[in-house]
């Protein structure tokens, strides 16, 4: 009888604490730094094939990956992403719930700040620098690695 009560109250405690724990649990996030060019031979490198749908929607025709990082992000803790051209981008996981993630991206280079909520499996592609000489820097952010 005592074990029944104990199991029941443990279940209650777990169920009550689970949402709060899940909300603050680290989330694996894959961040890539890309450079897009308006000129050149059109194409997407093999390593960026998963981005083809989004990259081909822009006016940039040639793409190169300049960096990548796997971050274990917790809400409200910003991660700084350095850009090869100088400067950095701040990426903050605002919250992650039910697979959807909300990110804030602050790009001083383009004086742009965004707050984007993406459903599970979706990815953010954001231009983080003003275009110079026909090219611009981008970051891609995807929760879940």
């Amino acid at each position: 009888m005592r074990s029944t009560w104990t199991a029941a109250w443990v279940a209650v405690a777990v169920l009550v604490c689970l949402p709060a724990w899940a909300a603050d649990a680290p989330v694996p996030v894959r961040i890539r730094v890309l450079q897009g060019f308006r000129q050149g031979a059109p194409g997407v490198p093999p390593g960026l094939e998963d981005l083809r749908g989004q990259l081909s929607a822009t006016a940039y025709v040639r793409w190169e990956q300049a960096g990548e990082m796997q971050a274990s992000m917790v809400p409200k803790k910003p991660v700084s992403v350095s850009l090869p051209g100088g400067g950095s981008v701040s990426v903050t996981l605002v919250e992650a719930r039910q697979g959807a993630a909300t990110f804030e991206v602050s790009a001083p280079g383009s004086r742009t700040q965004s707050r984007v909520t993406v459903p599970p499996g979706k990815r953010i592609v954001q231009q983080v620098s003003a275009e110079q000489g026909g090219s611009a820097w981008f970051v891609t952010i995807k929760a879940g690695g």
Binding site: M1, T4, W5, A8, W9, A11, V12, L15, V16, L18, P19, D50, L51, G53, Q54, L55, A57, T58, A59, Y60, E95, R97, Q98, A100, A101, T102, S110, R111, T112, Q113, S114, R115, V116, T117, V118, P119, K122, R123, I124, V125, Q126, Q127, A130, E131, A136, K142
Partner: protein, 160 residues
Amino acid sequence: MRCAGAAPLLGSLPGELDPTEAALLGAHLATCEPCRARLADIEALSGVVRDGLRDEAARRDLSIFADGVMARIPASAWQGAPAGPLERLRAFLRRHRVLAAASALAPALAALALYLYIGRTGGTGPSELSVEVTSEDLAAIVLDTSDGPVILVGDGSEGT
């Protein structure tokens, strides 16, 4: 108060009379010698009876009686005798294990149902694409693709 009225009150035990009766009886006894004598007889008699009963009780071994009563109580009842509300509740739950388990699991199931309901309906959590972009100098363009949003900044000519 007359003697006929005082007589029934003479055998009263201390505290048995209300203040008015006690005052009237006291006033009557102060002036009535026969009633004082009768009161003295009653007190003497009650003392004799009291002492006699006490002596008789002292001669009897009542431990046999107590042991007999205790022996007639079943051992099972004695072991499960509830000592208080909590013990009675425990005894009740021991007799109704299914009910106890159900009542214990009820809040857990309710919490689970609420958790699953919130998870299924979305609750306050984000489930749809939401984009807010602010740019100081450049125009921001958001392209909604099947793989996710593409956020561009510039003069607005980048999109296809």
